[in-house]
Symmetry: C2
Subunit: 196 residues, 2 copies
């Protein structure tokens, strides 16, 4: 059996309505009722497709995240550089975020649920995991990779948080440089700070 045309039509009009509303008001102020009025959809119908407004927004976030994954998984980036040097895969993250700036401004908004942040976290963390496994890196056997990758992935997100707070005004090139410099800081510094 094929996908019902009615379903496609209503879902698309709901999604479109969200995009339109997002241009004039923040996500957390958009109600299901308003969305349905604009989409010319009965409110009861809405609930047979989405749980709430976040359910609709999540669709777009998933599209963006999968775009991020796709870019990262291009073979060129995975094989073309020697592992002795900092490879540029991660660098792509800043370009990606800048490209979808409007969405990331929503995701990092303090009124928005952690759910989207978690999605980001899991995505970046998976990259870390794969990178370690592909290069057959063996870490100190005492270190649990789950904790190591969580540490590393969230560190990157820390840069994004700061970037967001500065309204993404720092150029992506400088973000790349900052990341590389932080990564190449000597371990002696890390021991000195006691914290980092």
């Amino acid at each position: 059996m094929k996908q019902d045309l009615r379903v496609i039509k209503t879902q698309e009009s709901i999604r479109q309505a969200l995009l339109i509303l997002l241009k004039t008001k923040p996500l957390d102020s958009i109600s299901v009722a308003e969305l349905c009025r604009l989409a010319k959809i009965n409110r009861g119908t809405f609930y047979s497709h989405y749980k709430d407004v976040h359910g609709v927004f999540k669709h777009y976030v998933e599209v963006i995240v999968s775009d991020f994954k796709k870019a990262y998984e291009q073979p060129y980036y995975r094989t073309g550089f020697r592992i002795q040097h900092i490879r540029p895969e991660m660098i792509k993250i800043f370009d990606h975020v800048k490209r979808y700036k409007k969405f990331y401004q929503i995701i990092f908004d303090e009124k928005i649920p952690l759910m989207y942040y978690n999605l980001l976290f899991d995505t970046v963390r998976t990259f870390m995991m794969e990178s370690i496994q592909e290069n057959h890196l063996k870490t100190d056997s005492e270190i649990q990779i789950e904790y190591l990758t969580s540490y590393q992935a969230n560190a990157i997100l820390g840069l994004l948080i700061e970037w967001y707070r500065r309204d993404f005004e720092t150029p992506t090139e400088e973000m790349n440089e900052q990341l590389i410099m932080i990564l190449s800081m000597s371990s002696s510094f890390r021991n000195q700070t006691s914290i980092s």
Copy 2:
């Protein structure tokens, strides 16, 4: 002029009601109406004190965060160790989180707004800042301290996220060890991973 007794009474009964409700249901399912019924407070009165249920919860979070800050600021921990070694200040974070486990389980819940996470982030980040300044560490002048500390602070929170996801079952002692091992990993490894 002194603080009106009526105000104190109503605020305390609202806060108490929240604690009671939190024992049986998640924060995001607690309505202002329910809170007011239990607190025996008129709903209109509620809104002259708090904006919403989160406003009430935030009070507790602020108490907890200030407790965290206080513990960190005890002079003993700031002077008693040589900076050449990893100092144990940050180690306190795991004990602290474990102590207030119930609250952190709420804060890290995916349905809860980023606001509380940001509060945590800012707190830890301030520690990083102070630590760098107190020790008169000069980083590479090209590195912006704001990005460095955001990176470092959020990395720690990454460990907390993973810990939370495992329902805080990893013993605090092991969390301490994991952190120390991650921090003392050689920079050569970091260059190899390309990501971390």
